[in-house]
């Protein structure tokens, strides 16, 4: 089933064309890797899905409805860095999403509801392998632990789609392998839909069920900025998909 649709999407900054004529649909339960050279609009494409910026032309639909041009709780995100809040402990970082939902004024639950939320957060932390680190602040964590925390923080909101912007780019090779295992496991178990931008082509093929390569289709030597990038290659990989949306319902409960 189609979750996210890009219909003839263009992004232009002044007279510079960044993305042109992007026509894509992302299926529910798929793991889409996005690769391409620097400046090929991969991150712009992800920011479109995130709502951090809107298309100059064209339309983006999520679940058949026009996507709001600002980030929302239906789309989770993990950036390469600065994804977690430095002033909150790991547990409070994960509870943040539930706090915001349940308490509009203080932005913080209290009493029984907070205890319930904390229990849910602890399960989420355990699921990403941070079961013992609930009271630790991000500054005391390694890069890999911080990314695990950022994933747990995003998943507690049960997003329709999880967007990863070079999430493992700053990690050691060994840690990166652990993270591959973690994200594949979570994706299968919870039936997530994931879009991941990466520089590492091997990683893209290893994790993804579909690999999109962004680049310019045409080049004008006199005015290179007048042609934008688009998905020039689209490789569907023959892999078993995620478990399905019903698994998402059981997430963290």
């Amino acid at each position: 089933m189609t979750l996210l649709t890009f219909r003839d999407v263009w992004v232009e900054y002044g007279d510079k064309v960044v993305l042109e004529k992007v026509d894509l649909s992302i299926c529910e339960g798929s793991f889409v890797s996005i690769v391409g050279p620097s400046g090929a609009g991969k991150s712009t494409f992800l920011r479109l899905a995130l709502g951090q910026e809107g298309p100059t032309r064209g339309a983006i639909d999520l679940d058949g409805r026009r996507l709001a041009a600002e980030p929302g709780p239906d789309r989770g995100v993990v950036f390469q860095k600065y994804s977690v809040f430095p002033h909150l402990s790991a547990r409070d970082n994960v509870v943040f999403g539930l706090d915001c939902e349940g308490s509009w004024f203080r932005g913080r639950l209290s009493g029984a509801r907070r205890r319930e939320a904390l229990a849910q957060a602890d399960m989420m932390l355990a699921a990403v392998g941070l079961g013992d680190s609930g009271d630790v602040y991000p500054a005391q964590m390694s890069g890999g632990m911080q990314q695990r925390l950022a994933i747990a923080q995003a998943l507690i909101k049960k997003p329709r789609i999880l967007l990863l912007d070079e999430p493992f780019g700053a990690l050691d090779p060994g840690v990166r392998l652990d993270m591959h295992e973690l994200i594949t496991g979570l994706w299968r178990e919870h039936g997530l839909t994931i879009m991941m931008v990466t520089h590492d082509i091997k990683e893209a093929f290893k994790l993804g069920t579909r690999v999109l390569a962004f680049d310019k289709r045409r080049r004008d030597p006199q005015a290179p900025h007048r042609y934008g990038s688009t998905a020039v290659y689209d490789f569907p990989l023959d892999k078993p998909g995620a478990a399905g949306p019903e698994a998402l319902a059981g997430l963290g409960s």
């Binding site: 995100v77 999403g97 932005g107």
Partner: protein, 272 residues
């Protein structure tokens, strides 16, 4: 031979090294004072410690004319003025700083205004304050507030604006509203910096307080030292200056302690 920047005194030696210059200054003063008194026993410029102790005793005794202890009422009046002013400035910096740092729609109209107010020398508007508010407490408090608030607001706005975009986006994907983002992300991350900014503002705040008291007041630490200046009473002025410094240091130290207690994440343990 080790490089100079790698030589680190241990903690005992560090305290000793810190005390040494203070002792040296005191010694130089004592010697100079003694030399002057040897020549002229009625010298007023460099009073002896004994004379200063006597003056302090005199100032803390009940004055039969007014029924008050001058040192106590001066301290209370000055602390009240500076305390109220610091409170107003901090509150304003917090609200305006977070607003300006977080909301482009607020930054567009108010940013240039704050920048313009920040370059006005506060002492230059003191006559205006006296004309508008009269010679009472309001004008003195207003001078301190006008003197330190713009800098604090700009500092706070800069700090909030420097929160990485990624964090703001992340908070929104976690369902956070603008208000929740301000209260749970921007406010706590800005607080340690606000306290630092307040600590840095203590010095100008005291400058404005003493200027205002020197010009128009009937009580206050600044008023007293400018009053006794007419009689060349260095034996009162010097202890008052030391007392003002001690008050300022105490405020600074307690603010630093509050910041360390309340925001441990903002004070990572450093090796140097």
């Amino acid at each position: 031979m080790r490089r100079l920047l790698n030589v680190r005194p241990n903690s005992g030696l560090r305290i000793l090294l810190g005390v040494l210059p203070l002792v040296a200054v005191a010694l130089v003063y004592l010697m100079a004072s003694q030399a002057r008194h040897a020549e002229n026993p009625r010298d007023k410029l460099l009073p002896t410690p004994g004379a200063m102790a006597e003056a302090v005793q005199l100032m803390s005794r009940v004055d039969p004319l007014t029924g008050d202890r001058p040192l106590v009422v001066d301290t209370a009046a000055s602390l009240k003025r500076i305390g109220v002013a610091l409170g107003i400035a901090t509150g304003t910096a917090l609200v305006l700083g977070i607003g300006l740092g977080l909301l482009p729609v607020l930054r567009a109209p108010l940013g240039p205004l704050v920048a313009a107010i920040a370059v006005i020398p506060p002492i230059a508007v003191l006559p205006i304050l006296f004309i508008v508010f009269g010679l009472g407490e309001t004008a003195k408090i207003a001078l301190i507030v006008i003197g330190i608030t713009p800098v604090m607001v700009r500092d706070m706005a800069g700090q909030v604006a420097a929160i990485p975009e990624e964090q703001l986006v992340k908070a929104q994907t976690l369902g956070s509203s603008t208000w929740q983002l301000a209260v749970r992300v921007a406010l706590p991350q800005a607080m340690p910096r606000l306290i630092d900014s307040l600590r840095l503002s203590l010095c100008p705040a005291w400058v404005y307080l003493i200027s205002a008291e020197a010009i128009a007041a009937d009580v206050g630490l600044g008023y007293r030292i400018f009053l006794v200046r007419r009689y060349l009473s260095m034996d009162i002025i010097l202890p008052y200056v030391v007392w003002i410094s001690l008050l300022a240091v105490a405020m600074d130290v307690s603010l630093r302690l509050i910041s360390r207690r309340a925001y441990p994440w903002a004070h990572p343990v450093r090796s140097r």
